[in-house]
Symmetry: C2
């Protein structure tokens, strides 16, 4: 078990009818907020009204920065930075899912930086300061509501890169599971896959696999995600299933998911970032395509051990033949993804072999920036399994 | 799933050779520390030297308050408060286990309070402020290194009561599993039982049992504690087992162990507090006695459901007869405690039926202060199962 430092200062307010607390919480951080949101679903489900009413009641003024894309883009981040400054805001309130929160985080550190905010993403500059971020989460998936990272796409260079800093932890995140009742079914599916991948990256790539507590933590998170996703598919208004789903998606990437693991690599994320940077496909969908390919790649290398542990402890698969059991485990994962409606072949998502070189080149750039150990050949092999 | 607020600001530094970081961390909180410790085991295992060397190297002066008892007592807390003031310290460094940390917490809020610090324990006053606490943990069990509570015994009134406040979260806790190599075997056993009970109290008393994520979290913690305890019994210097044990004991009472549960009650703790207030027995031992009695009490009431879930998900026990399966589960738990060397009958610990009334009266006072739903008859019944 590897040494680690863990600290997570985000205050979580979780449950029914909690969105209306945002005004009181915001008041602790200033007089004026920039509300950041997406394409307007929060206006349909009533969350926008609840947030703005609560701010007004507590005397917190606000400006609005809307239109955040599912894969948030740099140009829109820059508009947010300018608006924040122009409106002389004190804080950001992100109302939405991971994209909205991530764009908010980029704005929060960008307002203090004289240069191009993209410098933080390409590790040309280090984040020294950020304005306070508060979150009202309406789409559980990315864990951004309680972590220190953010992902943005530079749409000119087709780079989907990330930033990380203690300054980016939200101060307060409000999670009301009933705000997710109206989510389209595919958003729940993408969210489930995203969260499962957040815990799986460390699990499958750690170089120290004798870390029982973190393994068991991960089993608990994934089993809950599978169980609650299936309940939601049957009844989208199953509150307790929505609640367990929402909280496990947070636990899947709040820093606890890889404690004690050694030298972990976000392989599937690197390759997926390339896919969604180039094709703008949903992140969860992209991960659902890449992950089975990565597992088949592991099997081809004879690296079964973690797949067997995954199969036994999460899916209850046990068999005499190791290779057969590993293959069966991967098969079950793929089948489950398909049951959720995910098309997990590249060609089904209009991504074809002729582009594999371009995808690989893009992935290698990010992977190398993050210091990964994979080669072009590895990436091509993973893609080939899913073509 | 019940609404909740969760926030835990403690910074954890975990792993080999981390104790020497204490000086650098302490320097962030002032120039002089009161080091609080127990009967001197930290002088035998080298931790005292590492801590004081590190403080000296970083120019942090210190005074010492030693002799904390395994069930820390009020009179010694008061000595600590006086010493802290006299020595004009800026912070407390607790070096030891839960007792040392809990006494440190009582001192930390007592130094700012003009009245009797016991007022906080009997809810006559509310904690408004506390000096910073840093921890070097050498005995994993209570979770006090990353929570906001503390337990102290008023040895005059024989009350073992607790305090809770956001101000009591340690700022920094250093957890080096190798400092636990030299722990006597019974301390590991007591620690395992204590930590298992921390997650079990909520699990068995929640009035809302549809909370899949927290159930799964708990299964992971308990399975890890069982697995790592057994490994430690075979090889006390199994670092990875010590590490998983240490981290799961923290996760067992850092606030996450009951998120979403409803109306939980610390039944076993209330009764155990009575036992160790009167007889000064180790907390973990007392819990090991009470817990099986509580489970038998639940079975007698026909309340099997959670026991069956515990049996199936943690011990792998499944059977057609519900009652038989529940009894088998309790039996396995008792056997496991005995395998660890715990004497889990009251009489084996020189506690006899003639005192049951006295024990019950003491427990009722604390239980009523905490607003529990149990009666004298319930407590007597639980004790009777273990006489």
């Amino acid at each position: 078990m590897e040494n680690f430092i863990y600290s997570n200062p985000t205050k979580i307010i979780f449950g029914k009818n909690t969105v209306s607390r945002i005004g009181k919480e915001a008041l602790k951080f200033g007089k004026k907020a920039l509300i950041v949101y997406g394409k307007g679903s929060i206006k349909k489900n009533g969350v926008y009204d609840t947030v703005t009413d609560s701010l007004r009641k507590n005397g917190v003024d606000f400006a609005e920065h809307s239109g955040v894309k599912p894969n948030p883009v740099l140009s829109h981040v820059k508009e947010g930075i300018e608006l924040f400054k122009k409106e002389k805001c004190d804080m950001i309130i992100a109302v939405g899912g991971g994209s909205v929160i991530d764009e908010s985080k980029a704005v929060s550190c960008g307002v203090f930086y004289e240069g191009d905010v993209w410098d933080f993403f390409i590790e040309k500059a280090e984040i020294q300061k950020a304005v306070p971020i508060l979150v009202v989460l309406t789409l559980p998936a990315t864990g951004s509501e309680a972590n220190s990272g953010a992902v943005v796409t530079n749409e000119k260079t087709l780079q989907k890169y990330s930033i990380h800093s203690y300054h980016l932890f939200p101060k307060v995140s409000i999670l009301d599971p009933s705000t997710t009742f109206s989510l389209p079914i595919e958003q729940t599916a993408y969210g489930a896959v995203d969260a499962i991948l957040h815990v799986s990256e460390g699990f499958f790539t750690t170089k120290d696999t004798d870390c029982v507590i973190t393994d068991n933590y991960i089993y608990g998170v994934i089993k809950t995600l599978i169980n609650s996703t299936e309940r939601i598919m049957k009844d989208p208004k199953d509150y307790n299933a929505r609640a367990s789903f929402m909280w496990s998606a947070t636990l899947a990437l709040n820093g606890q998911q890889a404690l004690g693991y050694k030298g972990i690599e976000f392989v599937n994320h690197v390759i997926e970032h390339s896919l969604s940077a180039i094709y703008d496909i949903p992140h969860g969908l992209g991960l659902g395509v890449v992950f089975p390919g990565f597992l088949k790649y592991l099997i081809s290398k004879g690296e079964y051990e973690r797949i067997l542990e995954f199969g036994e402890n999460i899916l209850g698969i046990k068999n005499d033949s190791r290779k057969e059991t590993a293959l069966k485990t991967v098969n079950e994962i793929e089948n489950w993804f398909r049951k959720l409606g995910l098309k997990n072949k590249l060609s089904e998502n209009s991504i074809f072999e002729k582009d594999f070189e371009k995808i690989t080149k893009n992935a290698m750039e990010l992977g190398n920036l993050w210091g990964w150990s994979y080669t072009e050949k590895d990436v091509i092999e993973i893609l080939n399994y899913q073509k």
